[in-house]
Structure formats: structure tokens, C-alpha cells
Amino acid sequence: MTPFPLEARLFEALRDGDWPSPAQAWSLEQAGLTAPALVELFESQVLSRQLDLHARRLQARGEAFYTIGSSGHEGNAAIAAAFRVTDPALLHYRDAAFLLQRSKQLPGQTPAYDMLLSFAASSEDPISGGRHKVLGSKALNVPPQTSTIASHTPKAVGMAHSFGLWRRLGEQGGEWPNDSVTICSFGDASFNHSTTQGALNAAAWAAYQGAPMPLVMVCEDNGIGISTPTPGGWIEQSMRARPEIHYLSCDGLDLLDTYRTAREAERLARRLKQPVFLHMHCVRLMGHAGSDAQQAYLTPQQIKAFDARDPLLYSAGLLMRHGVLDAEAIRALYEHIGQRVAEVAEVAIRQPKLDSAEAVMAPIVPPSRPARRQPAESKVDETPATMARLLNQSLYRLMAEYPHLVMAGQDVGRKGGVYGVTQRLQARYGAYRVIDTLLDEQSILGLGIGLAQNGFVPIVEIQFLAYLHNAEDQLRGEAATLSFFSKGQYTNPMVIRIAGLGYQKGFGGHFHNDNAIAVLRDIPGILVACPSNAADAVGLMQEAVRLADEEQRVVVMLEPIALYHSRDLIEEGDRRWSFSDPGPEHRLPVGVPGQWGEGRDLAIVTYGNGVYLSHQARERLEAKGIALRIIDLRWLTALDHDAIQRRVADCAQVLCVDECRRSGSVSEEVITGLVERGVESHRLHRLTAEDSFIPLGPAATATLPSVAAIVERAEGLVPRQIASKRTATESRT
């Protein structure tokens, strides 16, 4: 095999004894390493490098599909060595050496084979099953991360918070020991991402209040983000004086300095349970990825200067200087590992690949697990009440039934939620189970994901639907993908309560009445429920928690704000939209719609506020002799189109009333599903919101379906139907 330029430089140094010296000159003893341990770290570095190089060779042969490598970052092997194998580590994509080193802490691992399987996208890859080249391992407590920039940092904060929470519950109930430390790594470019900044802020915010936060955020600073240099000293200046976060810096080219500093980071995080920012200086070698021609934006001198800072040169120099290995042994080690990688690769690339959509999609829905619900004594108050009230009763009950259920969100505790849905919960179950969070939706969702990954059933609240959008990637890129990218080995089941949709009286404007839900509906695996009345809200909430607890699903509960406090249907005081608590066993399964009435002139298919409006319209329509039924979808994803078709099949006309926008809303799918099942298009109609934002004041509902519009539309459809019936009857006589 022709040596890569980096290898040629290493061989040259081995020949000439020309080794760079690190800035520090620690002895092995000062660093806390034995000679064999130093060699072991070097072996991890070399294996990481050889895997990088071979990925490129394999890609050239069309046998590998990912070349973002770890070259230049291999010093993170020394960070791995400073932590326990049971400390969960969320690693970014340049941390192969970390994973390889960690594999040595648990005998029986096959890291070279596994990594090559992942390069080759083989279905045998033990972590993702060929779905992505990720760094991960169930046995090594490395949940796989995506390449979405720094989107894993909020959940690292959540995970770090989970250990103290388990201690507070007096249990060891999670995936990881309660004295664990969470490690989370990212690069100097992603340090600038708002997600990272938010996570750092959330960690500091929690620590500032004395909450345990055993978290080590490792910033691997190679000085460049693809082609954009990180300004010299920027990371350090940003972090050195940050309140509540310990700042430590190490030379990632020097294994001794890195190990020594990482041990201190580990000590601070584990003993003091405080967040640590570990700033590892390193270098990026061979460009951003195999496809990145770095000569386009770097001068040859710059590239040469990078290459001269190859951590392998520094490590080899250390081994020589400390008399651990001689040049001949280093070369033999390097070549032996290279040879082994090449040989293992030839077997790995022949292993099976994913070969069907079904195989690819298998882990989108995670595996089930035993229920943890416990019987709880509770007297059901059957006084008809509002949705907010019954949701509150249901949540109160659920927190008793599921001791591992934790609630979190802005204002959910002391205030009891903006609309009172979580009232009394904090007073009853404590501030550690009903958490008032900071105002940052990414951190709220990250907290939920982190808690869920460590065995809790979180219910997190997004105060208003419009606030979801800045944090939506936490669901899309993180929560929804974890099972997929880990073959169901890691999961983050939870319920996300989102108050939203239009029609609020007296509290207008787009941001409190947002009706854009398309962003939730196209995420594979996520379920969205939307109740139209208090009794259904209980049934859906109880099912959502069961789904999270037993089926490990991520469930969004979209709660129509305008219905929270609706008591009456037609007239003030008629109490026709108040409902009795259906009790703890009432659960409404996914895909099963509700139905009101049996009329056959018209079926109104709708959800949420649409159900309420349709009931109001029904009064008027029935008065005019139109027999109708109302189908309440209840679930806005995983629609059972056959069930919907059966419910409307015997109706002359079908009107889909959709309070969300015409473009991208659930009615598009409902109509499509019916057409696909042979329902003639002249029987199918839609009444939707306009493609608009929601205005303030009297015009707040101007763009939304109204009772009048439903009535008008229905009358327009049914007379035609009646008229045509009449014509048919007349022609027969």
C-alpha cells in the first residue's frame, strides 16, 4: 500500500529521530500513567489513524461510504482513559480514538471489525446496523450521535441531571450508575452554535442553583471549521470566566498532558458534581472529509504546518523520550495495526447490507419493555369539568402511578402552567419531579431526552406551539432518530405537551395561536395526539404515558388552548363541553378515531377545535334536516386510513375540517387516503385555515374555519345530494 503523506512524515521521523516536543514535559509519574498504559493509548491512536486511512482506500474502491475522520484528534484516547466505561459518552464524529480506547476497558470488544462494518454500511454493524457511520456502542455506553451540529449537547445536560434525580428518588433505576459523569464532545466550530451555547448556559444555570451537574463538555479545538478559522483564543476567552463552569485546557497533541488534565476534569465532575469545560487543543489532518480539498482554502505552508503537528508524531516522540518503545518497535506496531485493519476490512466489506425499506425502517419504532405502572389509590371525581381540569387530574394520577414520571417546563411548577394544567403537582410531588426550567426550549427538550435515556418517563412542556420551532431539531434530529441509529438499543421515550392552535378568546396574535403542525407530522416514529374534549384528553394523555413507558415511543400531546377552559357548547352555562373524568383505565389507542352521530348525509372528519366547531354547526345543520356524523381523528400521525374510510363509506359527502393551514396539514393526507381507497373525489371536500399567520384582535379567527363556514359548506354539499336523491326517486316513479 502506498503510504499517505502523513505516514511518510511519520516514517521520516522514525528514520531521522526528528520528533516534535510538546510544550509541557510531564513525566509518566506526574501524568499518572504507566509505560504500558502509554503504549495502549498510542495503539488506540494508531488504530484510529489506520481506520481513517483505510476508509479512504475503501471509498476509492466503492466499498466504504464515510470519510470524516479523526486524524489530528487522536489525543482524545487519553480522555477516554480518564473516565469509567460506565460514564455515558456522547461523542462527535472525530472521536474514534476515544471509542477505541474505551473498548479496552471492557474485554470482549471487537472495535476494529465493528468500525469497518460501519464504514461499509453493513447491516451487521452492531450499533446502527448499517444506517449511518456513527460512533456508538451499547456495551461501552456510547449512544450514537448524529452529525447535526452540537444537537447532542442539550441532552448531555439532561443526562447529567438525571443522576442526581435518581439519587433523590433513592433508587438506582437508570441505565447508568448514579455516580456517573456525562461526557459530551464537539468541535471548536460547533462551540459557536446556539445549541452548544444554550447547553452550556443550561448547565451553568442549574449548577448556579446548586443542582448536581456532573458533566464534562469536551471542546476539541482544531482551529478550523471546514474552511473558516476559529479566531485565535476565542474559545478560551469565551469560557475562561464563565460562571459555574470549570475551565480546563490541555494540549491534545500530548497524551500525558491530556490524560493529566482529563483526570482533573473527571475528579471535578464526579466529586463536586459540577460542570467542566475541557478545552483540548488539537489539529485537523487530511481536511474535513475525504471529499474536502483543503488546498482550495489553505496554503501549502498551512497544510504542512498542520501535518507537522500530527499527534502521532508527538506520541511516538513521547514513547522514545521516556524509553518505552524504540523506533523499530513503533514502526512494527504501526505497520502491524495497518496490516490488521486491511485484512479485517476485506472480511467486513463482504458482510450483508440493508436490502429493503422494511429492513431500514425496522428500528424507527423502538422495542417494547415491561410496564412500570404501579397501582395507585385514587378516587375519580366525576363532576363534569373542563379539559384543563381533567388533564390536571389525570397528570396528578399519572405521577402517582409512575414514580419515574418527571415533569419539566417553563412555569409548570409554582405557577402550575400558563393555563393551570399542572397546578398542585409541584406542591404534591416536589420540585425535583415537577421542574421549573429556564426559558430555552432546546434545553427543555434536551432535559427530557437526557432523562428519558436514563430511565425516566419525562413529560416536558412547550408553553406555546410557536416556541417549539426554534427547538424542533431536538425532536427531529435527536429524539426521533436515536432508536433508528442504534437499532433500538438506545431510546428516549417521553411525552411532549405542547399548548397550541388558534381560537383563543382575548389572547390573540400568532405566537400564542400558532397552527403550524406540519413540522411534527413528517418525523418518522413520532406520534401526535390532539384531544377535542376533556374526556378524550384524559384518554390520550394516559395512553401517551403508557406508550412512552411500555413502547418507548416519543409522543407529542398537542393541546388546543382554546378548549382548555371551554365548558359550554352553544349557550353560556349549557355545560355541554364539560365532561366527566373517564378514570385511570381509559386510554385511546393510536389510529382509532372517535365518532359522534350516525348521520349519512355528511361525515365531518376533523380534530381539536374543529370537533368543537363542528358540534356547534351540527345543531344548526340537524335543524335543517341534514343527518351527519363527526369523526374525531384524535391522533394526527399514524392515521388508520382504512378505519377512516370505513367510518365515512356510507356517507354521501365527506368534509374535512382542518384548523391548520391548507398546505401541509393533516387534511391533505386524509383526503389522499380516501381517494386511494376509491372514494370518489366529488364526495370529498376540505375546509381549512388559510396559508397565513394568525393576526391580533377581531381578525384573530378570520383565517380559520368557523362554525358559519362549516354550516355554509355543509349546506352547499348536502342539498345537492338531497336534490339528486329526489331526482332519482322521481325518475323511478
Partner: protein
């Protein structure tokens, strides 16, 4: 010219444990190693200890299980046979890419990988064989969890492990997992425990099979042997292996990063009192070194089945059944037992 450039075949050496030297193997050491310098040294070391020499046991003393099957005789005999085989492999055609072993075979693996010098390994093996024989704490029992085609039945395995968990502690029973042996589990326990277990297990062909003159190796019952061994062999000069070595947990010991103290500590520590995971050792050896062939040196061919079962578990070389394994052995034998003379011949110069 073409012969010169032919790449060497890469062999994984899998060293056998106890129970492989039987009537049929008697005489094989003499056939393969008579006159060798190392065997004379071993014989001399045995004489110093007032033990019958290996040459005598293999060449003069008629085979009796009660004699040759004793730990203090069987262990060094098996080591010597394995050593003779390993030394006979044609290094022009074959390269040893990694070494592992099963149970007592771990000590042999230390020798064949170069982590221990031949004589030091002999002293270790002879001492441990003697300690095991004189203390003989508990025994071992073998039971399969694969079907007749050697395909894994994980549910059966779980049931077996649950069974020993249940029986352990009942009426003075002590029972532990001793070895993960491909498609079989070896249990270690005291008499009461093994008796109860035998009663509970449905008979299947030869199973449950008691392993005579074996102690409850790799279980906490060997704590006293461990203490004694650490006292007797404090200065055994372990070194780094010359070729990668995989232990009974599947841990890889490399020629460069091996800490001799840690190797000593494992060999005379954890290894003696915790389950030996031969399946993990094979998994790591195969996946991380992808040998062209697997070679079992030493007497007999009894370890071959366990290796084949592990291959089937891993789907290695595309194997999914005993029939597929046998077909592969017919067309291109990739598992070579040097205890079978014909197969041994293939590897010789």
C-alpha cells in the same frame, strides 16, 4: 518466484484445555517430540519434583484414566503435545496471527504466544495442575444449548443459567457458570450442586456429562487455589507476547502494550475464579484478526466441536449449521485439529 511471493496463510492458534489427552493420544508426544531438547528439560523438571516424567507417562506407563487424567499429569502432557505441534508448523507457509486458548489452554497460549518462556510455562502448568489435583475442589459438568445442527438456542441457554441460579444455595448446593464453551455451558460446583443439576437436566445423548478429575475451575470455589498459586508463583517471569494473545474474557494482549504484572495478575487471579469465556476469546480472535484457518494444536480433537459451534454462532465463514461446517471441512478444511494425524500433516514443512 511465484512461491516466494505467495502470501503466508494466517493461522489462529487455539490451545486446548484439560480432557484432551486420552487413550488414543497415548504415545503421541513420544512420536512427535522424542529426543527434543525441550522435552528433556521438562522431564528433568518433573524429576526434580519427584513426578513421573512426561516421556515415561506417554511412552512407558500404560494409559489409565486414573493416572493420565490427573491434573498434575494431564496438564503438562497436553502442554507438551501442543508445544510439539506448534513448533512443527511450517513457518515458511504459515504465519501465526494470534493465539488464544480454552481454560487450561490459556497457560499454553501464554507459552505459544511467547508471553512465557517454554520452561516458565511448564512450571506454571505443572504447578497449577498439581494444585488443582491436590485440592480438587468441586467438579465440572457439561451441557449443550444448541440444537442437533449446532444452531444456538438462546432461550435454552437462558433457562440453563436461570436453573443454576435457582439451585445454587439450595440444600448446600454450590453451582456456577464455569466456561462458555461454544454451544455448551460448563458448570462448576460442589457434589451436592452437581448432583441436583444432573437430576434437573433432561438427558440428551451423552449429556449432562460429568468431567472426571476436573475441579470447579473458574469459579469462586477456587479462591484458596488462587491464594496458594499467588504465593507459590510470585515471580513467574511474564513478558509481553510476541504475537497478539486473547484471554478468557476476550481481552487482547499485544506485543507492545502488555503489562507483565497485569498479565500475571489476571492469570493467577481473575482467570481462576470467574467464568472463562472461550466463546468471547474466539469472537475477538476471529473478528479482530480474520485468520485464514483456525488450528488446534495438542492431543485429541474434542475442542473442535466447541470451536465449530462458536463459528456457527458468529456466522463466520458463512457457517450456519453443523452440516455447513462439515461441508466446508470436506472441501476446504479451515479448522485444523493437529491431534488428528492427517490434519497435522497439512501444516508440516
Amino acid at each position: 518466484m511465484s512461491e516466494m511471493t505467495q502470501p503466508k496463510e494466517r493461522l489462529l492458534i487455539v490451545c486446548p484445555g484439560r480432557g484432551t489427552y486420552n487413550q488414543a493420544e497415548w504415545g503421541s508426544l513420544t512420536r512427535h517430540a522424542a529426543g527434543s531438547e525441550w522435552l528433556s528439560r521438562f522431564d528433568a523438571l518433573r524429576r526434580e519434583q519427584n513426578q513421573p516424567t512426561l516421556s515415561e507417562l506417554d511412552g512407558e506407563t500404560p494409559f489409565r484414566l486414573s493416572v493420565h487424567g490427573r491434573g498434575d499429569h494431564a496438564s503438562p502432557l497436553i502442554y507438551a503435545c501442543a508445544l510439539a505441534d506448534a513448533l512443527a508448523i511450517d513457518r515458511e507457509r504459515y504465519e501465526i496471527c494470534a493465539v488464544t486458548g480454552n481454560s487450561m489452554g490459556w497457560y499454553i497460549a501464554l507459552a505459544l504466544s511467547g508471553a512465557l518462556a517454554q520452561d516458565d510455562a511448564f512450571t506454571l502448568i505443572n504447578t497449577m495442575g498439581h494444585l488443582m489435583q491436590t485440592s480438587l475442589i468441586g467438579g465440572q459438568l457439561l451441557y449443550p444449548w444448541v440444537d442437533d445442527q449446532w444452531r444456538p438456542q438462546p432461550e435454552r441457554r437462558r433457562e440453563l443459567l436461570a436453573l443454576i441460579e435457582t439451585l445454587h444455595g439450595q440444600e448446600g448446593s454450590e453451582l456456577y457458570l464455569s466456561i462458555e464453551l461454544g454451544g455448551m455451558l460448563v458448570f462448576g460446583g460442589n457434589e451436592a450442586g452437581l448432583k441436583r443439576l444432573t437430576e434437573e437436566l433432561p438427558p440428551m445423548e451423552r449429556f449432562p456429562m460429568r468431567l472426571h478429575q476436573h475441579a470447579a475451575f473458574h469459579t469462586p470455589m477456587q479462591e484458596s487455589v488462587k491464594a496458594e498459586a499467588r504465593t507459590r508463583l510470585p515471580a513467574t517471569p511474564f513478558g509481553a507476547p510476541e504475537v497478539p494473545l486473547i484471554d478468557g474474557r476476550g481481552k487482547l494482549w499485544t506485543p507492545w502494550s502488555t503489562d507483565p504484572e497485569a498479565l500475571w495478575d489476571y492469570t493467577l487471579g481473575e482467570q481462576l475464579v470467574t467464568p472463562y469465556d472461550f466463546t468471547a476469546a474466539l469472537r475477538v480472535s476471529l473478528r479482530e484478526f480474520v485468520p485464514d484457518r483456525v488450528v488446534i494444536p495438542g492431543p485429541g480433537a474434542t475442542l473442535g466441536g466447541a470451536v465449530a459451534q462458536a463459528l456457527i454462532q458468529l456466522g463466520w465463514w458463512g457457517l450456519d449449521s453443523k452440516a455447513a461446517f462439515q461441508a466446508m471441512q470436506q472441501s476446504d478444511p479451515r479448522l485444523i485439529s493437529m491431534g488428528i494425524e492427517e490434519q497435522r500433516e497439512w501444516l508440516l514443512a
